[in-house]
């Protein structure tokens, strides 16, 4: 590790909470501050948190729908091609193109495409597998809730578009963010440094 001796880079500040309700209220306040990046970590799904964070609905169901339709259509067409076009075989005196016989496989392929695409899209949308970051603290998988306010990446002075984008959000200041989390009832507040996964 060449960088080990250098000062680790600040990636944000974290505030820990002991209660899901306090977390939700604090999250709403943090959202109102208009930081560019912040996230919550909880040991179990907390209902209403995504609304407090102001998260938009995931496009995942749309992926499932389109993939399901695709799988079903391809499944049916493939059976039609194999049974009626490429290699017609008389099965039980039924017509080569026998719709009812194709339905179970059509259904299965609908489910298969939908399911695999959903899992794949879920990984993609969540940025998984994640080799970039470590968990903020092991306790968020056990008994504590956390809000992390992240430091946005440094944008070069001459990058006008990047600068304009960051100007739309509240400027990140380590001390100020820490103060905010303390004020919102965090039981512990500390800075987070980039460590990477390995």
């Amino acid at each position: 590790m060449a960088n080990a001796t250098q000062t680790p880079q600040l990636s944000g500040v974290v505030g820990f909470f002991n209660d899901a309700h306090v977390l939700i209220e604090a999250t709403k306040k943090v959202r109102d501050q208009n930081y560019q990046f912040f996230d919550c970590f909880t040991p179990y799904p907390v209902h209403g948190l995504e609304a407090a964070q102001g998260l938009k609905r995931s496009p995942l169901p749309f992926v499932t729908f389109v993939a399901g339709l695709t799988g079903g259509t391809l499944g049916y067409l493939f059976q039609y091609w194999t049974s009626a076009v490429d290699w017609p075989i008389n099965v039980g005196g039924k017509p080569f193109h026998s719709g009812p016989a194709f339905i179970p496989i059509t259904f299965e392929l609908t489910v298969l495409f939908a399911a695999l695409s959903t899992v794949g899209a879920m990984f993609l949308l969540n940025g998984l597998p994640n080799t970039r970051r470590k968990s903020v603290d092991p306790s968020v998988t056990c008994d504590r809730f956390a809000i992390v306010i992240e430091r946005p990446p440094v944008v070069a002075e001459d990058d006008e578009k990047g600068q304009a984008k960051q100007a739309k959000y509240k400027r990140f200041d380590e001390a100020e963010a820490k103060g905010l989390l303390e004020k919102l009832g965090a039981s512990e507040v500390r800075s987070v440094y980039a460590e990477g996964w390995f």
Binding site: D19, A20, H47, R57, P61, F65, G92, P100, A101, P104
Partner: protein
Amino acid sequence: MQHSHSMEIRNPGPFQVSGKTRSWFMVFVALGVVAFGAGLGVDAKRTWFSFVHNHFFFMSLALGGAFFASIQFLTSAMWSAPVRRISEAFTAYIPVAMVTFAILYFGIHHIYEWSHPSVVKGDVILEGKAGYLSIAFFMVRNLVALGLLYFFTRKLVGNSLTQDVTRDYALSLKNKGLAPGFLLIFAIGFTMASFDQLMSLDPHWYSTMFGVYCFAGLFYSVLALLGIVTVLLKRNGTLAGIVNENHVHDLGKFMFAFTVFWAYIGFSQFMLIWYANLPEETGYFMTRLQGSWFYVTVFLLVGKFMTPFFLLLPRDSKRNESLLVGVGVFMLVAQWIDVLWMSQPELFKEGPRVGWIEIGTMLGFLGLFGLAVSRFMAKHNIVAIGDPRLAESVHHHHQ
């Protein structure tokens, strides 16, 4: 968790169906009696077919109410606590269904060919079934089954109503113990009812899946009705602060799920018969794929299944009350057509006939159902206010 609010939930009390609506129900009953009476004079066979069709449709709704409530008891469901009483109200029609079944006695000779000894004699299949398909046994076993189901329903609903006053958790546990008993008798009794009342209209034909097919239709339609009534009561303010958009969403999911279930069962029944291609089994579908029955069959696929499926698929539409009511009404109509499709082809092979006899009889049964349910609602709290899981459900957020 922290959802336990000490806040007392407002008891909306009983719900009075408006006098105007009740008058309409009475007009419907009168119309039904007139249509039925006149129909007997004009075409007795057709009228009795319509009678058994509508009897079965509305009996399914009433038993479906008991079925829905009992699975909530059995699973100790929290989400459904604010709407469970509505499904319990549907069960008020069960005694009426017993009466209409008893009336069916007078129509047996018109619609069930197995009831004529002259037809049975010499017919190997019918002679073999003669022990089971006899008028006395037919009447007795169906009345006994309905009676048992009514007995259990009375117990379940009675405990639920007592809990409104005593708020005793033990009653929830009691119902949890009773529910499996009800469900077992329901599974056997309703399968038998569908075999006897609908399947034996063609006594030569049989399908072991017929009972579960009728059950799929039962749950399909009762969920639609529950969704409609819940939304209407939420809209007029009766359930304000008790039922929220998440409960409506859950009912929408249920409607969607059992649309798929019905299609799955319907297709399974069809595909097995189509694949095996046995002469004694295919007749049922041959009739329904010929003449204008073919279009009704297509409607079942495209209308009864695909339409609610695609309409209810997006999350937003399950949370859209108006859309849910519209789809619910459509689903009830589709189920009515499905029962027509199960019964009437045995009389009219060339195609469906829906005239004043069918509509009139349907209105009569609708009136009876409406009166029975509104009487229950006027007598009892519209929300199971003593249910220990109500408080949690009222403040319930979920996806």
